[in-house]
Point group: D2
Chain length 385, copies 4
């Protein structure tokens, strides 16, 4: 009984639904990437994206995915044999670890239960023990997309600084930037990476890397063998509005429009909207008598809400049901959470009624599959909006 008519509700935690203004922008004809019109476009988006990262330092844009942005951070700063400190916040922290290991980096991996944030206190203890300053970088995921848990970047920076430890701070803001408050400069990140298909509301295909002066200096003399993801030539050419190799022109058109959308609404309003929607989503989960995966009340994500499926019910069966019956895509549980949770994305352009449609679909799906629950989630969510 497939009923895939009408509006698809793409409520995975990224790629997020792309606004139609952005879709139209990416359908503009390609232009000469070495011509004057392109240079103007490049300067506009390279300037605008800084305001979204809240930085005055360079932000680099690569044709690539968030995985590429991770790699860019690693290969420009770390050499085989270097040691870093990472925290097991969930699937994506684990993936970033794997990637980093492939580059021969030694990783001090603070274990986690995938339900809590990266604890500044634990990070502080590990760094304090590193009296020889062998740890070159602390690498943390800001918003762990697999779990809906947000880590306190500023507090982690403060912990590093309090010890006078020279470690760089590398942050994955892949699913947070543009939806959750994030302050590259004020929070003291050295590298912040993101991609196009989450809070920036674009299709996938762009990788972003925001730098600090310390990171730029470290890359100048260190890092691994690299070419594609190298920062130096990119930074030099960007000054003139060009790129060392052909950029993904049409996604840059979309980026210009996406930045305009965020700034028309106002970044603070954007963040407040997502906080409001997330509070409603959690109220719904509570109303259903289900459990939010995140166990730390200070760490709830405003980008997505991961919901624990009751024992004896498979979350993938549930997800397939709501996709087929209600044209609703929810995020799956990844690796160790497979079948155990579903994730509700409320990032990007999500608004009140899109969320309410989504929560209604979940409530009806739980009912359809006779999952033990209380049909009070939708009602509870409306109280928050």
């Amino acid at each position: 009984m497939t009923q895939m008519f009408g509006q698809h509700f793409l409520q995975i935690p990224g790629p997020s639904a792309v606004p139609d203004r952005v879709l139209r922008a990416i359908s503009m004809p390609v232009i000469d990437h070495r011509g004057p019109e392109f240079a103007e476009l490049a300067k506009t988006v390279l300037g605008g994206i800084k305001r979204i990262f809240r930085t005055v330092h360079p932000v680099l844009i690569f044709p690539g995915s968030g995985t590429g942005a991770w790699e860019s951070a690693v290969v420009n700063l770390l050499a085989p044999g270097d040691r870093v400190l990472m925290v097991e916040t969930g699937h994506f922290a684990t993936q970033w670890r794997k990637l980093t290991e492939k580059w021969g980096i030694e990783i001090d991996f603070i274990p986690g239960n995938w339900r809590d944030w990266a604890d500044p206190q634990v990070i502080s203890e590990r760094l304090a023990a590193d009296t020889e300053h062998k740890i070159k970088a602390v690498m943390v995921v800001h918003n762990e997309t697999s779990t809906g848990v947000v880590s306190p970047i500023k507090a982690i920076r403060d912990a590093i600084d309090a010890l006078g430890h020279p470690a760089l701070l590398l942050v994955d803001a892949i699913s947070s930037l543009g939806s959750l408050r994030y302050e590259h400069d004020a929070w003291g990140a050295d590298v912040t990476v993101t991609c196009s298909q989450k809070g920036l509301m674009l299709p996938p295909g762009l990788a972003f890397v925001a730098l600090s002066p310390r990171a730029i200096e470290a890359a100048r003399t260190g890092g691994s063998r690299r070419s594609y993801w190298d920062w130096s030539e990119m930074m030099a050419l960007n000054q003139t509005g060009f790129f060392p190799y052909t950029p993904a022109t049409n996604l840059l058109y979309g980026l210009k429009e996406a930045i305009a959308l965020l700034e028309e609404e106002g970044l603070d309003n954007v963040f407040a909207r997502h906080d409001r929607l997330a509070a409603a989503a959690r109220a719904a989960v509570e109303g259903w008598g289900l459990e939010v995966l995140c166990e730390n009340a200070e760490a709830h994500s405003s980008v997505l809400t991961a919901v624990v499926m009751p024992e004896g019910h498979d979350s993938d069966t549930f997800r397939h049901h709501v996709l087929e019956k209600y044209n609703l895509s929810l995020g799956q549980g990844l690796t160790r959470l497979k079948g155990k949770i579903f994730r509700i994305g409320h990032l990007g352009q999500c608004n009140e009624l899109t969320l309410m449609g989504t929560l209604s679909g979940i409530e009806m799906g739980l009912r359809d599959l006779q999952v033990p629950f209380s049909a009070r989630g939708v009602q509870a969510a409306m109280q928050c909006l």
Copy 2:
């Protein structure tokens, strides 16, 4: 406090939200309307639209609006001084009457309270009294868009036939075709008019007229002065895939795609979907303790639900509120219903979650404005889906 971000919920009873496949189709480059590629397109849409009207007879497509389709029906069949029977089902029946009067037609207008259908019994009585057969046509609105009341076309045809009265049956299916079951041939309509922006899910700009052999014959010898809306030359040229004057090419691209969408889902499934959504909408209204405008249980529309605003509350104030706060467009009360009702459109591509988002927005809006109501509508609607 404008919050016009994210998905707009266009839930007026037309223009309905246009599927993105249709929007992309209408953005294709214009072609020569006298060339071979155009002829193929024309034949495809002229053939396909017959299947939607459920007719084997010609359907004509004019650049124009539904009002133009009304005029086309009038001027091809009626001459000044002719008499017709019309029924006051609501605002649009009244508008059609006004248009017809401008053409010098004498109108026998059966009064109505805008909350009931066109009663076949009353029509039968009027025709029975017309022993001289002066009434040339019965003109009825199938789905009265201003009230959400559906009139029984087949029963009206049967009433005419039972009397052996020669009156033609002219039907306005403007807001029903493509969403509500409609059978031009089987129900015995002589002319059925519609437009592009309702159940056909296109932008406004096309007027459609489906004919019967009797109507074609009547037009051949009768009617008023006319040129643009004339049927004869249009029918002749359509046979070869062309039009007497430049057709609205890009809307025809969209029409091809819209017909494909309807037929991929299956017309019977489309009708069942709208019945299901409408039942849920009425359940919501009942849950809120509010009143559906339509008082005839057999006549409820599956295209829209008109809701009576409680005394002391203005429906336009309410509509402006939900537009600004929830990005939701609802239909207004027209003329004598101004400020007294709001209309929920659930036609076209509307699906379960779009409806639930809509109903949530209404429920929150009623709460925000402290309208006396019970917050049980959304819950009740989910029971029906």
Copy 3:
């Protein structure tokens, strides 16, 4: 041997190629035509289109074609039995005449050979003979699309005025507005009609009527039976940004963009561009040793160039050949010119290289079909650019 790959050269004299900015604009989602956002759009386009007509008086926009605009001019001003003066400039003047006749108007039709303009002198003589002022209107085609001949509107107005004759001046600027210089107010037109798919660079589907105060006054008390094409209610509602029936929203989005395109380039630059392109097209025809249909050197059109096919060669065979081999659409000869001419459209967004591609395709096509000609047209055209 079909080779329909790559860029199609749509060089018929309308519909003209639609700029991609306009195509994207018309693919925006539909909005509530009774909401505030629509009112703003309506005011923008209703204001902007006045600047294109060069008038301060109302311009009305109907969902319809140019034929509808013709009808609107006729039914609002003329009643059955009224007499008008028209000039046989070509196919479209003849079509307008037929339409007017259907409305019961008596037509004094000045014969023409389809190769010359509407002669102000002849018009003057006819009006001078009309001492009783029975002629209510002079109806002239500005740019005769079927022949590429332009008539001198200002001179005709002067001729009427010189006689003190009260006839209204009704002008068909269907294929000229937006490409050829046209001055509704300064030239003293009472009604100017056009449509969307020529100089305005939109898909077909909109009819435009520009009025003078005299026309408005005449329509207030006179004209034929009418409803759809009536001016009074349209003018009244337009004041508030709305329309008496659902307007063709998405084409209005496109109109906004098209007006922006024309004004970004500057109307005077637009006119100069078309003059330049037309001079090049005529130089090509001369270079080929072929004949331009227009025999009056003062009357050459900058919108299209009609070329006489040498004896013994069929222009439709030629057109089919260049369509199939070079993906080039040229305009056909209409009615009495069928098979005898082809028409090169260089209106709308046509620019130098588009024209040169077009002329190259013609030159190669003439060669392919062994038409007697001299292969010096392309070379000659470049001299003019």
Copy 4:
């Protein structure tokens, strides 16, 4: 005097003009890259692209540029200290060399004058001298985009095989695939790399790598540190229709459409079309009395034609002029050719009239700037079409 109205002629040798069908395809809404609809899309494009490479072995698609595809070939097969043989065909061969050097590879670089192909005889001599088989790979650019010279891949493979040398053959088909005949399997390439914005007629943003069983085996055990560009996980996941990290969904929509376009025309017809256009372009250059950069009559490219600017004239001045006056983008001379040549792209969807428009623009531009030349190029080009 900017005249940037109308159709832009994007005639650089990539990015090439994107067909409007492809532009519309990439504007479709994003879908869940882990859902069933995506898997179907992925299988379609992964299967289709094999037919374009003419291979039955895996083709991998990365979010990235052609530079990324180069890097992928290098890091999966070569380790620091490995030796390869490359040929200086022009700017891009030189760039690929630089990238390879960054990975610590030792390069035997056969010098060239940027006007000739990679000579199989010279390659054979170098390999014959490598009796210890230290050379792990021969790396050649098929169509050197900076010069318009095509190297004989099959002959190079034969030369390697004739010696029984085990070197892998790595080919850059970046600007040739989809426009020039290319046979990955039949010609014995081990790796062929390309990107989206040339013969595939997409916007930039995708990197492609076609493999041979030998290459797959070599990568399994060898190569450098890598993660993003690694083949193994990509190949494994592709089998199920998924990717190790988020793919560039919307460009994959476009790829599906682009493959359809190529196969509707037929690859052999596509290649013949480009051969025909290139012959016309060279005829034009000869007609102007100018020099084609490529000095080897067997090596002329059907993708682009590089033209030597007469002494005393700067090709960039010329390019800026035709951009501003004729809305025509031509390719610049790169590095050592800067200011000395301009490049005419006639790849992708270019057809006869687009080329003729382009050549006309060049001829008029040469005249405008009083470059010594003969105005017979356009005429000569038409002889070939």
